[in-house]
């Protein structure tokens, strides 16, 4: 089991946002958590990636996490290649380890032509590709994606699922948190989050 969340509770003042969320994920599976705005998705996600701590409950993650935030958190003045270098340092990767993965991501997400360009001149779709690539650079065991398809064109969307299938084959587990789940047959498990309760 790569992830096990047990009875997670989170409140802000009098508002109970998560009311005992429990779920688990196996290696090499694609999981979805869907929920409307205000259902507690963002809170759950922030707890899963380590930005916040639950008030109560247990969370167990066995392996490296890759986190792809909804809004691309990237530096406008740096180039695509510089981002890879910066994040490789963050992950503590050796040069020959991350360069191979960088080439793979640039090729498969089809933005190698922009590698020397500063992010500020690139399109929203390319921002999203870079955002996703940075979460995959260290070849995580668990990839957590927050509304990953925002800004993707159709071709990138298909390529995204190709990469997802490939990652799944390699044993990587994927968790997609979104307000709208399409292509339900691509998922192994789908949970609905409603008013802080996972159904």
């Amino acid at each position: 089991m790569i992830l096990k969340a047990d009875n997670m509770i989170k409140s802000f003042g009098n508002k109970n946002v998560l009311k005992g969320v429990s779920f688990s994920m196996d290696e090499g599976t694609v999981n979805g958590i869907a929920g409307e705005n205000g259902s507690g998705k963002s809170t759950l996600l922030k707890i899963l990636v380590g930005l916040w701590k639950a008030d109560r409950g247990n969370l167990q993650i066995n392996g490296k996490i890759g986190y792809c935030p909804q809004d691309p958190l990237i530096f406008p003045q740096l180039t695509v290649d510089e981002h890879f270098r910066y994040f490789a340092a963050a992950y503590g990767l050796k040069k020959h380890d991350w360069q191979h993965q960088r080439e793979f991501l640039l090729e498969h997400l089809n933005f190698g032509q922009s590698r020397k360009d500063k992010v500020e001149i690139l399109s929203g779709g390319t921002h999203q590709k870079l955002n996703l690539s940075l979460s995959l650079l260290h070849e995580p065991d668990l990839l957590i994606l927050d509304e990953p398809y925002n800004g993707f064109d159709w071709e990138t969307y298909l390529r995204f699922w190709e990469i997802t299938a490939q990652l799944k084959q390699q044993g990587c587990s994927i968790l997609i948190v979104t307000h709208l789940l399409n292509d339900r047959d691509r998922f192994d498990n789908i949970h609905n989050l409603k008013n802080g309760i996972l159904e």
Binding site: K53, Y67, A90, G92
Partner: protein
């Protein structure tokens, strides 16, 4: 903490700063505009003034234009540094958190930001110091540059505090312009100061000690040691406070 992570972050921060158009424009335009205004508008007549950090009634005589140049050099260094420091911390706050999630330690990012600021302080003080020296004979150019670096240190610390506490860019700029204008750009002018009704308030403002140090270095042979130590102490207070806020905001609650 690894040196590789710190140096990678440092180079990225410097790249980002030097690629921001507004940074280059400010660096090029602000000193030129300030010094040109002084050069074209301030008279050359000699004015005797008393420095508050000197004991007794010791008067220094210097031309009004030269005094204004030194005083504006301090204001320029203070404004530029506080703006750049604020910009550096505030703009990257969310992305820095992502880097921390990916493995950076908050102290590694903090250290690289501080190293970047130190390099910029040196660059700005040398640049503004050389421009000042081009206008008139500064008694001790090296100490003058050092005094401007002290200004950069104190006001850079203030910029870090503002950047860590205030989320809106406009509000942060307002806070910086307000203090830099009132303090470094007005109250620390020795000619104004001599006639000020409440000099105690002026003593407690951030540009007080660096201004005293700069004026000593520009016009006298008096030691700048006391003013320098006080500036370092003042700047360290800002720095410690901003580091604490940065650390609290960046830590991950695992």
């Amino acid at each position: 903490m690894t040196p590789d992570r710190i140096t990678t972050s440092l180079f990225m921060i410097l790249r980002m700063l030097l690629r921001r158009r507004i940074v280059l424009i400010l660096l090029a335009v602000i000193p030129v505009v300030f010094f040109s205004v002084v050069a074209f508008t301030t008279p050359d007549r000699k004015v005797p003034f008393r420095l508050s950090s000197l004991d007794g009634n010791i008067f220094i005589a210097a031309s009004e234009k030269q005094i204004a140049l030194v005083f504006f050099a301090v204001a320029v260094a203070g404004f530029l540094m506080s703006f750049l420091a604020m910009n550096l911390i505030q703009k990257n706050s969310k992305i820095n958190r992502r880097l921390i999630l990916c493995g950076y330690h908050p102290l590694e990012l903090l250290l690289s930001n501080l190293l970047a600021l130190t390099l910029i302080i040196v660059l700005i003080s040398v640049y503004v110091g050389l421009i000042t020296s081009a206008f008139f004979h500064v008694s001790h150019p090296g100490l003058m540059i050092f005094s401007l670096a002290l200004t950069g240190f104190v006001y850079g610390g203030y910029g870090l505090v503002v950047g860590s506490l205030v989320e809106g860019e406009l509000e942060a700029i307002l806070l910086i312009v307000l203090l830099a204008n009132i303090d470094a750009g007005w109250l620390q002018n020795p000619i104004f100061y001599a006639e000020a009704q409440n000099q105690v308030i002026i003593h407690w403002l951030p540009a007080y000690f660096p201004s005293q140090s700069a004026i000593f270095a520009a016009f006298t042979d008096y030691s700048i040691l006391r003013a320098s130590l006080a500036s370092l102490l003042y700047g360290s207070g800002f720095l410690a406070f901003s580091m604490l806020i940065f650390y609290l905001k960046m830590r991950i609650r695992k």
